[in-house]
């Protein structure tokens, strides 16, 4: 089998004195959609930020396309072809929608055209000159996803893209993820909503207290429902 696109081994991370991740191990293969499931505070966001180089102190190994990234600053990690859509969306209030959309610089060939992004998220086209943070929550999420599709990054880290959104918008984001998978993007997705996760992902990892405690293939999800309820406390 080919080398995984992303391979995380023995990842530890700290915020100041608090030790948050205690040896996280998982990998994501080219073209897969993989989720990190887990309760609030399990360390999902911290895992993504560690991959992106946004956590002050981390150790272990994060291989991206076989290259070690653990010692690199965030801007160099991004230029390898990883893009991050944060949980709080990170839409800039001092930028209008067009500026927000065009902000991330292209880091490689083959990014999506703006026209295709508008096809995915038609709302954005009509709001281009609005202030970024004047958009509705759903539109902000579309903008946050849309702007990282332009850059040519091949691995997308999406942190709870459906959080707090209306069902129709969750559905739209689900369609988008399918479409992105078809276009060849590789996606690591953080979700609390495993019903949604089940509709888009190939595999799931379950996190607890800063560790990966289980791995479940999507077609084994139904058989593992009870276990999952327990993990997620739903």
């Amino acid at each position: 089998m080919a080398e995984p696109m992303l391979s995380v081994k023995g990842l530890n991370a700290w915020y100041g004195e608090s030790h948050i991740l205690h040896g996280v191990d998982f990998d994501v293969r080219q073209g897969e959609v993989v989720t990190l499931l887990g309760r609030n505070g399990a360390g999902k966001t911290t895992t993504m930020k560690s991959i992106m180089g946004l956590v002050g102190r981390r150790s272990g190994s994060i291989l991206f396309e076989a290259g070690e990234t653990i010692g690199l600053p965030a801007y160099k990690i991004a230029r390898l072809g990883i893009a991050f859509c944060p949980e709080e969306r990170g839409i800039f209030a001092s930028l209008d929608v067009a500026e927000n959309l065009m902000l991330p610089p292209a880091i490689g060939e083959g990014g999506m055209t703006v026209e295709t992004i508008f096809e995915l998220f038609p709302n954005l086209r009509e709001r281009l000159s609005s202030q970024g943070t004047k958009l509705s929550g759903g539109e902000q999420q579309m903008l946050a996803i849309g702007r990282i599709l332009r850059t040519g990054a091949r691995l997308l880290l999406l942190d709870e893209p459906t959080e707090g959104l209306a069902p129709v918008i969750v559905q739209q984001i689900g369609h988008t993820i399918h479409r992105l998978k078809k276009e060849g993007f590789t996606i690591l997705l953080v979700e609390q909503n495993f019903r949604f996760a089940a509709t888009v992902a190939d595999r799931h990892y379950v996190m607890e207290h800063g560790r990966i405690v289980d791995e479940i293939a999507n077609d084994a999800l139904a058989a593992n429902m009870e276990k999952l309820h327990e993990y997620l406390g739903v």
Binding site: A74, F92, P105, T151
Partner: protein, 295 residues
């Protein structure tokens, strides 16, 4: 037209002009402070000393190397800006995560050191700097006589301020700057070298101060103290305008220069304090400043 509100028009326009000149310096300096504060979270108390360095570099270029005003207008900001880059790389970068107070103390200390060094070498009496030949003399505007050099200072300051505003508010580079002011880690995560941007931004803000210093050299004496006197007023201007806004800094700078000038005409006793009175009132009514956003 002999008098306006009982004031001879010559005196009124004369003070208005002086007000606009002072306003040019207030605007350019507070603009630099606002940009630096926005991205670095540091209140750059060295700003006045860097303005003074601009004037001194112009003086040294002329008297030691024979390089004229026009060359100084380019070279002095570059040199002093490079000095700023050095300060940022070696000192300021260690303070970003700390309270504003640390940056303020460090830059204040640096200002005292720089001023002390210049006083040691050049004395405190002040050195003259000639107005460049092309800008000598004046123009009769009909309602008043305008010394050419003063007109030039106002015009070029206005242009520099507006170009800076345009770059920050309307260009891609400016979008990076605004975004990094809001959320530096995320901008890093998009592949932008934010630390380098921070360094260059500080260098630019410092260069802007030095540029102002060169403009000031022929008007005021070139002296080690020139920046320290000015910067206190400029900080009041920044407080009145609010730290967050570029256009706010520009408008407040020119506006307060004019208010100060008018006060000299109508109530001269208050002219030295009017800006601080305005500051006190604004702080009471709008603590974040006229154009500021609470952050």
């Amino acid at each position: 037209m002999h008098e306006i509100f009982g004031i001879p028009p010559q005196a009124l326009f004369g003070q208005l002009l002086l007000g606009l000149i002072n306003g040019s310096f207030y605007a350019t300096l507070s603009l630099g402070l606002a940009i630096i504060f926005g991205l670095l979270n540091i209140i750059n108390f060295t700003h006045g000393a860097q303005y003074m360095m601009g004037a001194f570099v112009a003086w040294m270029l002329l008297n030691w190397l024979g390089l004229n005003y026009w060359a100084a207008l380019v070279i002095a900001p570059v040199l002093v800006g490079a000095f700023g880059v050095l300060i940022e790389r070696t000192m300021l970068r260690h303070l970003y995560k700390l309270d504003h107070l640390y940056g303020l103390l460090l830059t204040f200390g640096l200002a005292l050191i720089i001023q002390g060094v210049f006083r040691n070498y050049f004395g405190s009496s002040g050195l003259p700097y000639r107005i460049p030949d092309a800008l000598r003399g004046g123009t009769d505007l009909g309602f008043m006589f305008m010394p050419n050099y003063r007109g030039w200072v106002i015009a070029v300051s206005l242009v520099v301020c507006l170009v800076t505003w345009f770059v920050i508010e309307k260009t891609k580079l400016g979008a990076y700057l605004r975004a990094a002011t809001e959320n530096p880690p995320l901008v890093q995560a998009f592949g932008i070298n934010v630390p380098r941007m921070v360094t260059l931004t500080y260098g630019f803000g410092v260069a802007l101060a030095a540029f102002s210093g060169v403009l000031a050299a022929p008007i005021y004496q070139v002296s080690p103290q020139m920046g320290a006197d000015l910067i206190i007023v400029v900080f009041a201007v920044v407080v009145i305008g609010g730290m967050g806004s570029i256009m706010g800094a520009i408008l407040t700078g020119f506006g307060l220069g004019v208010i100060e000038g008018l006060t000299k005409v109508f109530y001269p006793e208050a002219s030295a304090t009017v800006i601080f009175v305005v500051m006190a009132i604004v702080l009471l009514v709008k603590p974040a400043g006229l154009f500021g956003r609470v952050r």
